[in-house]
Structure formats: C-alpha cells, structure tokens
C-alpha cells in the first residue's frame, strides 16, 4: 500500500498533464510527484517521533499541539482582529474576493444544515439563493422598499419556499431526493428566465439600491465588507447554537439512523422540514445581500453549477463541521482567483487539487469527526 497509492496518484495526474505538455513533461511530472508523495509518506511515518519533543516545547507556551490549531482560542482572536483591519491595507480587488467569500460562507453554512446536519442531499440550493435575491430586487425596484425592511420579507419567503420544496421532496430519499431538488433548482431558474413581465427575463433587474443605515448609504466596498462580516458572524453564531441544541441533535440523529430516531420520539418528517427551511433561510439572507451588493440580478447567477459549487464547499471543508465548511467556502472562492495567473490550467489545477484532497482527506479538510454524506 505504501508504494501503490502514491504511484497510482502520480500516474493519474501525469495522464492529466499529458495532453497539455507532451510526453516528456508528463514523465518528468510523474517522477517529481512520486518522489514528493514518497517523501511525505515517510515523514508521516516518523510523525510520532517528532510529536513528543514538539509538545515539550509547546508546553512552555501552554499550547496543546493535540488540539487542532483552528480550535485554539488565541487564533480566533487574532483572526478576528485581522479580519477587522484588513480593509485598511488591501486593494479593492482583495476586498471584492473577501466579500464574495463571505456570501458563499453564508450559503455554504446554510446548505451545511441540510446536507451536513440532517444528511439530506440538496442539489437545488441555488433556487433559494435566487428567490432571496429576486425578492429583494423586486421589492426594491417595484415598490421602493429599502434593504432592511425588505430583508425580513425575502428571508421569510425563502423559508416558506424551503418548506414548500420539502413537503413533496421528503417522501423520497437519497438519489431520488437529489433529483427532485435538482429539478426544483432548474424550475426556479427557468421561471426567472421566462417571466418577462415580472423579472425582465434574461436581461435581469438593474438599479437595485444599496443598504442605508441612519441615512448613511453603503457605496464603498469597505462598507459591504463590514456588513458581510457582521452577517457571517451572526450566521456562524446561530448555526452553532442550533447545532448544539435539541434541534441540531435531532437532525444528526436523523442523519445517523432515521428509524432509530423515530423510535426515540423524534418527529422525523417535521425535523427534515425544519432543516430544509432553516437552510433556505440563510440562502435568503445571502441572496438579498448579493442583490444589494451587485445592484443587479439575472438568472445567469443562479445556474446548477452554482449549486454544485456550494455543495463542493460543504463536502470539501468537511460536511457537518462548521469551521470546515467556512474553510471550504473560502478556499473554493480563493483558489480560482489565485489561479487566474495560469489562465489555461485554472480549472485543471482546481480539479486536480480537489482530487488530491479527497484522496488524503476523504471526509473534508476539517471533517474528522462528523459523518461523511451518505446517500
């Protein structure tokens, strides 16, 4: 096993490389990759030898090496402080990426409730995102309602949409549920695309106004950055609280074993409904912010690929783990941006990265404890 796995991995990636750079480069790549993997393997084997002396050093700082870095409380404060001051040091481009990451973090945390906690595969999550965005867009452009007054409406509407999808969908399980949710996502997109009189079809709705707080209008990227930081914090806090409560435990019980869950008194149908609605609730929030930030919405932003991307974030980061999902969302927004330099190989490199990750951490980056998705 110790030799076979690295060998298969390097051959696989060398084959990926072959059409672009020719045979010679592919062989070179194969050897390099094989050597690196073998090196990593041997390092991994001696990991335990290094662990004790390292722990002794860290003991001086009262830092436990065995608790993962992301769980240490100091790191959290440092990270939070860093996030607060970022806008003073960076270019608009970086802020733009940060804002996008924040929107996706909210979306991924919402989908995590459905997929990670309750174990229900939802391939049409983008539909709720779209409903949230269009609700704010329409309320704002047709009736002139401001962001803060429209937000509760659009979140309420997406929650109701979540309920409505869940009612027929929950008679199904696994693959069938996935197909129905996929269909729902497409239906919503097609309605938005074709209901010209209301949504202006593929042209989209433009001229959406930005949020106003006490006669202070949001116009700079920095403002949106802080607004999103605020909402991300709220999302993390609430999903964490709910996860640790009676409701979250019921969801996980349903994911682990639905029949056993029902015989200890959990109303499985109702709780699956709640999961769908609660997940949709956050998509509604993300959608409204997205519409307010872009000041423009069109059906193009809500394609099936978007659903897949959000699902990737959840599974990549570690389905069911809140910090994992945040990392997953951040990485999947960041990676394509970083790889902009190598235009041609961008998607290739991204795909290869995902494959490597799934080989070495099949439960996601931070998904050690929680269950992987079971269909």
């Amino acid at each position: 096993m110790s030799l076979l796995k690295p060998l298969i991995i390097s051959i696989w990636f060398a084959l990926l490389f072959l059409p672009f750079k020719g045979l010679k480069a592919a062989l070179f790549f194969l050897i390099i990759l094989l050597l690196t993997l073998l090196l990593f393997n041997s390092l991994f084997r001696y990991k335990n030898i290094f662990k004790d002396p390292l722990q002794k050093i860290f003991n001086l700082f009262e830092f436990n090496i065995l608790t993962p870095l992301y769980e240490s409380i100091y790191l959290r404060y440092v990270l939070f402080a860093a996030l607060l001051v970022i806008p003073f040091f960076v270019k608009d481009y970086v802020l733009d990426v940060a804002i996008l990451s924040c929107i996706y973090i909210i979306l991924a945390l919402g989908l995590n409730v459905v997929v990670g906690f309750a174990g229900l595969l939802n391939l049409g999550f983008v539909a709720f995102y779209a409903i949230g965005a269009y609700t704010y867009a329409l309320l704002n452009t047709k009736l002139g309602i401001g962001f803060w007054s429209a937000l509760p409406f659009s979140m309420l509407l997406t929650t109701i949409a979540g309920f409505l999808l869940a009612i027929p969908a929950l008679r199904l399980r696994g693959d069938y549920l996935a197909i129905v949710t996929l269909g729902f996502g497409e239906i919503v997109r097609l309605i938005l695309n074709n209901w010209d009189t209301l949504t202006k079809g593929p042209n989209g709705i433009s001229g959406i106004s930005t949020p106003v707080v006490f006669s202070f209008t949001f116009y700079k990227l920095t403002h949106f950055y802080y607004l999103l930081l605020f909402f991300v914090a709220i999302t993390i806090f609430i999903t964490k609280r709910v996860h640790k409560s009676r409701i979250g435990r019921a969801w996980i019980a349903i994911r682990e074993d639905e029949i056993a869950a029902s015989t200890i008194g959990i109303n499985t149908t109702m709780y699956k409904l709640y999961a769908f609605a609660f997940g949709a609730f956050w998509a509604g929030l993300a959608g409204s912010i997205f519409a307010a930030k872009m000041q423009f919405v069109s059906p193009e932003s809500f394609t099936f690929m978007e659903s897949v991307l959000i699902l990737c974030m959840v599974i990549l980061g570690g389905s069911g783990s809140i910090s994992g999902v945040i990392v997953g969302a951040f990485l999947l927004v960041l990676l394509p941006e970083l790889l902009r330099e190598v235009q041609l190989y961008r998607m290739l490199a991204l795909g290869a990265g995902l494959v490597i990750l799934m080989i070495f951490r099949p439960r996601g980056i931070l998904g050690g404890k929680s269950a992987s998705l079971r269909i």
Binding site: D257, T263, I264
Partner: protein, 243 residues
C-alpha cells in the same frame, strides 16, 4: 395493556401485564420482530388494534408512540454511530424536553437549565448500564457488548413505561449475558415493563415471568417458564432442537 388480533401476523392476542418481564420466543421467521415493529409503529398492521394503557396506538406515528412511553432496541444495533456515547443518550431525551430554536439561540436560562439536567440524567443512565467511563467515546467504536448496553440505555432515556428488547444478548459472551440479565432485572425494579425477544434459553427461562411462544406467525403457547419447558407443542416446534 393488551394487544388485539394483529391479522398480518395472523390471529394474535396477547397481553403484557404491567411491571412484568415477558418474553416472546419462537423459531426464526415466527414474526417476533414484526410484533415489535407493529407496537412501535414502524409497520402498520392491516387489521386489528394495539392498546397501550387504554389508548389505541395502531394508527399513531413512531414518534407519537415513543412519546406515550414505549421504547425499543433493535436486533441489528441501530446506534447513532458518529455521535459520542453521551450524545446518544442526550438525544434520546428529545421527547421529554422542549427548548426551541429561540431558547437555544439566545441561550436563555430555560435552555441552560434543560441542557444541564439532560446531561446529568444522561450520566445517570450511563452509570445504570455501566458505561460511565465511555461517555465521550464515539459510540461506533465501542465494543459490541457495550453497544448493546448503550442501546438499552438510549431506550431507557426516553423514559418509557414499556421497553421492548429485541435479542439483547445476541452475540454476547456468557459473562456479558449475565450482566444483561441483571440489567433487565434492574429495569424491572424501576417499575418498568419489559417485553423481550430472545433466543438464549438460559436468559428466557432465567428472568421471564411469562412466555409467549410463536411459530409461523401464530401463538402456539403461553405460560410461566416451567409450563413452557414441558409443553409438548413448544418442544416440537422449537425447544426440541436445543434441549
């Protein structure tokens, strides 16, 4: 408590007396587990009725039946494997708690008190079945015998008055089997009623106060252990092979 004729299994009429340990025995495929599934609402009988303290529970959902006070274990262990041992017990107190989403988000006093109480209770249940030291282990990584005990503890945690155990000693060594027998006696002392499916005759004869024998979906005999041991029909159908 009594169960009316469950036609799907074929005319079955049985009663479970309160605070008694009663066993259902019979060869494989006799319909024992089906009886459990009907009682807990997982399958719905075509005809007939099941009364639990004068309430007809035949058309109720599994979670409603659990709320009324019936809990069960499964023949093939059905634990929440990726949850810790203590979380398995905590989640089982679901229908005895009531904090909602608002309580949890705002961390209201009610929520904190309820969380503290169910955690303490969960530790008590773990102590009761002898798994106190495993509280923070992942339940999927427990040894087999301990998983069976945890499932019993989980059933107890939903505070039932009737507890259904589906082959609680299957696959256990003699020592563990004795522990489970003692555990069942202890459950009875709590004032609960135990209905048991079991193949191990030592267990059945040792702790049952009343035995129902099933074969091919029909009740062929019932009585106290001594009578069952000497019943000709029973020996023919089932015990004859083992005794």
């Amino acid at each position: 408590m009594h169960f009316g004729g469950i036609k799907a299994i074929e005319d079955l009429d049985m009663r479970v007396k309160e605070n008694q340990i009663m066993s259902i025995i019979g060869p494989n495929g006799a319909g024992k587990t089906t009886i459990f599934n009907c009682i807990t609402g997982l399958t719905r009988p075509v005809k007939g009725s099941i009364f639990f303290s004068d309430v007809n529970i035949v058309n109720l959902q599994p979670h409603e039946i659990a709320r009324l006070g019936i809990a069960r274990t499964f023949q093939n262990i059905r634990l929440f494997k990726e949850m810790s041992v203590i979380d398995n017990i905590i989640v089982a107190q679901h229908c005895r708690t009531s904090s909602g989403i608002i309580d949890a988000v705002l961390i209201l006093r009610k929520f904190r008190r309820e969380e503290r109480i169910i955690r303490e209770k969960a530790m008590e249940y773990l102590e009761f079945v002898g798994l106190y030291d495993f509280a923070n282990t992942m339940s999927g990584s427990l040894p087999y015998g301990a998983q069976r005990k945890l499932e019993i503890a989980r059933a107890l945690a939903s505070e039932p008055s009737l507890i259904l155990l589906d082959e609680p000693t299957a696959g256990m060594n003699p020592q563990e089997t004795v522990q489970v027998m003692e555990l069942i006696e202890k459950i009875k002392k709590l004032g609960k009623t135990v209905l048991l499916i079991e193949h191990d005759m030592k267990v059945v004869m040792g702790i049952s106060e009343w035995i129902v024998v099933m074969d091919h979906g029909v009740k062929i005999a019932e009585g106290i252990p001594e009578d069952i041991k000497n019943n000709k029909l029973v020996i023919e159908a089932y015990l004859g092979k083992e005794y």
